[in-house]
Amino acid sequence: MPDLLLELFSEEIPARMQPGAARDLERLVVGALTDRGLLFEGIKPFAGPRRLTLAVSGLPAKQRDVREEIKGPKVDAPQAAIDGFVKKTGLTKDQLKIEKTPKGDVYLAVIERAGRDTALVLAEILPEALAKLPWPKSMRWRTGDPVRWVRPLHSIVATLDGEVVPFTFAGVTSGNTTRGHRFLSSGALTVKRFDDYEAALKKAHVILDAEDRKAIIFEGVKSAAFVHGLEMIPDEGLLNEVAGLAEYPVVLIGAIPDQFMDVPAEILQTSMRTHQKYFSLRDPKSGKLANRFALVANMIAEDGGKEIVAGNERVLRARLSDAKFFWDEDRKRSLESRIADLKGIVFHAKLGTQYERVERIAKLAAEIAVKIGADPRKAERAARLAKADLTTGVVGEFPELQGVMGRYYAIHDKEDAEVSDAVRDHYKPVGPSDNVPSNKIASSVALADKLDQLVGFFTADERPTGSSDPFALRRGCLGFLRIVTENGYRLNILEFIDGSIKSILTSEAIRPRADWSSEGVPLIDLLIGTRSMREMLVKADAIENPLVFAQQVVNFQVSRDIQREEIINYVLGETADRSSIAGFRVEQLREKTRRLLLEFFADRLKVALKEKGVRHDLIDAVFALGHEDDLVRLVARVEALQAFLKTDDGANLLAGYKRAANILKAEEKKDAKTFISEVNEGLLAALPEKNLFAALAKAKAGIAPALEKEDFASAMRQMAALRVPVDAFFDGVKVNDEDPRLRENRLNLLAALRAALHQVADFSRIEG
């Protein structure tokens, strides 16, 4: 069975694009082969700094012969239909056969296609597949030719069973020669099959497989570190990148001069990683960053790497001098003095500056601190300092060190230890695997920061859509939920959402005119959407009542580029009642933001609890109550409910509830009314309904205080006691009695059951 070897040899391919390109090449070729009926046994893609390679094994020598029969019109069909069929099949009329069928004789076209040689098919499909390869960024280089590749393409190897598959792509004709390492080999390599190809490359100092290169680097760094009594600080991302930068990786060790060792380790590490792509090493005992680094060269130098190490050390010294300079300069000013500088940093065009944001966060953090039992003054202090490091030189150079640097500067300024830690930790958790802050000061600031971010972007109509979440709001929301639930903080989040909405809507930053006293006008900015000015004005013309127009603004939104003054004047003309319009908008927006945010929180909570096996419908059922906004209690309630529904009593009670709800739904529809009246005890005729009535009264009396005490297990037990009377009721009582008074009374009894259960959760949302 023949094997295909395909190699695209180009100038240096960006490391970050290599793995994706290999996968895309595999996918495209697999698709093309399958389309042509060429099945194979194995396929493996490879990518490296200068080449993409694909090895396909076990291809057939040729396609299978294909015989296709197509039924046509009857022999006595109109001539036009027969002519059409002949044309469609590409045969002549003489070549058509006639088949007898129960409905009469019909024409039959038998088309036979001999399978073509695989090599011929490949010569067709490979250039097509290459043309489709979707590089994240590609370029033209051939004059007058729009063909694109990631960098200029120099040669193509395409062999099937050792023989060249001839085709041309991007002006390059395929052949059987390639090149080895840029400096450690010379001349062309002639290759036939994958095995000799991989071996020839290895001899020419090219390690084909990225996994092999990674292993060489990993082992190399590990053992080189060991020689110095050190260990490697694992860094998967860096390992992947470096493996894409060297065809023949060689690990070397360099030294960091002592003068830099008192610079915070995070700065050294970040500088080495982002600028120089060095691995950091540490002392295995103390865990402290070591004064050695590991670099990965693409060269076996004639002097054993002396020059390379010396050169890299020199570059690192210059880099670290820069970093140390920033670190020294930054500490000449207090963090506090930098808060005012945040006025110059725009957080988001619709949400004002970082300074205004910090003001909001500080207020919110203090309020949250009070609720969770932390010192509000410390929380406020930490919040005010939290973003001040954004104006420092080090964070300017290494944005990923925000927070970390803030803490160092806060400690340098002799700020309180908890406050300093909170400056760093308020960004936490930065991902699903990161810990949440457990300290209450840090938690207060972290919660305030995330809430302000969520409310801000929701108010500004910048919500995540589909896969797009440019402001990482999903992550922020999940972080918020985790901080609250993992620490067991008792907060009524609605209160804080409302407070946060209010402080954003009244923020000075989003107030277009200082002399405008109502809250409404800033909203015009916030409401700005995608519709055109013209469309808005057309609508405005059609509407005389400015209040209705304001509603239109809310509903349709307005283009970003319209003149704000123009709208204000238009909408709020001389006669308009400014405050009512403004108030109307504030209300609209507040409600909308609140509703959307709650949905968002519920969704995120479902995601967060899904891993713990918590049912999403139960979360919905509890959220649907509308008043449960204490996340800790909510989760406890959901968990108790889930446990209850697993019991026999729970499952049967749910079935009883569903039956009651269905009957009520049908009868309420029939009568066009809702049954909410008190049950008339005097009209209770049958024993089971009397029993149910008594049980309900008891349960109702028991559930409320249990819920009050957050004793959900007890609330569930109270509900469990309803199961027997409910079952007995449905067994022994006919709801739709001929006597309308009895019927109504029984429906009211069922409604009372529904109401009793809805104290715990909206059972209609529960599945199953």
Partner: protein
């Protein structure tokens, strides 16, 4: 390593090398500019169908990078060696590596790498794909295949090679402080430029009169527009004005009087000028774009 290659030797070596490869050896452009790319020999000549191979030294001014002569390698005025090859030869990487050898960096002893670094100049409406070339972890060259200049697609595609001369010299001479570079056998780099770095840093950051600069910007913009108006366009003088506006903007930025939002607007204004100049250049004889498949005359 050729440890004795002085700063001026380095320049002479590159000049001789690229001259031997058939490049025009041009002289620096006599306007302040941020990079060799701004030289009309690159930005305008990269457009249109005519082949063009040129190399030159370009003094580059980056007012915000001034450090009063105290930083080991940051300068507000430094030299770039710029090579523009159009169309990009197929062996352009090899040519470049030869040039590196010529200045004494032996690839058998060093670790030379092409690391992804795409280039974009929002002010020139220009973009390209390429690499920064690393020698033992040090960026010594920017290597770019132009894709777009002045908002216009390049065809043929040019290769642009930009050597940072001071950095390269520091590497070759094994010097850590730029002012210690041997300019020639008798003078250090610091003797030539240290005072000027001090004075210009003070000028860039403290003394430059922002009112005058704002006016310069407006004047240059106005003059540029006027030179491109009507049917008697003068793209080369107009482009001079575009460079002047760009430099005034850079100075204003160093003075810290341009806010983040204004910044984007100013860049947009310079870009509009650059684009207009490029479009006008393409209508001149030297720049004229001859369609590859000219439409037949309508009889």
């Amino acid at each position: 390593m050729a440890g004795n290659l002085t700063f001026q030797d380095l320049i002479l070596t590159l000049q001789n090398f690229w001259a031997s490869k058939g490049c025009l050896i041009l002289q620096p452009y006599d306007n302040e500019m941020g990079a060799g790319t701004f030289h009309p020999a690159t930005i305008l000549r990269a457009l249109g169908p005519r082949p063009w191979n040129a190399a030159y030294v370009q003094p580059s001014r980056r007012p915000s990078d001034g450090r009063y002569g105290e930083n080991p390698n940051r300068l507000q005025h430094y030299y770039q060696y710029q090579v523009i090859l159009k169309p990009a030869p197929a062996n352009v990487q090899e040519l470049y590596l030869e040039s590196i050898k010529a200045i004494g960096l032996d690839p058998k002893l060093h670790d030379i790498r092409f690391v992804e670094d795409d280039w974009e100049s929002p002010t020139l409406g220009a973009a390209g794909l390429g690499w920064e070339v690393w020698c033992d972890g040090m960026e010594i060259t920017q290597f770019t295949y132009f894709q777009q200049v002045g908002g216009i697609e390049c065809d043929p595609v040019s290769a642009e090679i930009t050597y940072g001369l001071e950095r390269l010299a520091m590497y070759v001479q094994n010097v850590e402080f730029v002012y210690d570079l041997a300019y020639n056998k008798h003078f250090r780099y610091g003797e030539v430029f240290h005072q000027s770095e001090q004075e210009f840093s003070a000028y860039n950051f403290e003394r430059a009169d922002t009112e005058i600069l704002f006016q310069h910007f407006k004047d240059a913009e106005k003059q540029c527009r006027e030179l491109l108006a009507g049917d008697k366009q003068l793209p080369l003088p107009a482009y001079d004005q575009c460079i002047k506006a760009s430099h005034a903007f850079n100075l204003l930025q160093a003075r810290g009087v341009i806010s983040v939002t204004e910044r984007a607007a100013y860049i947009g204004r310079v870009r509009a000028l650059a684009q207009a100049c490029c479009e006008a250049w393409l209508k001149t004889d030297m720049g004229a774009y001859t369609p590859r498949f000219p439409s037949k005359e309508v009889g």
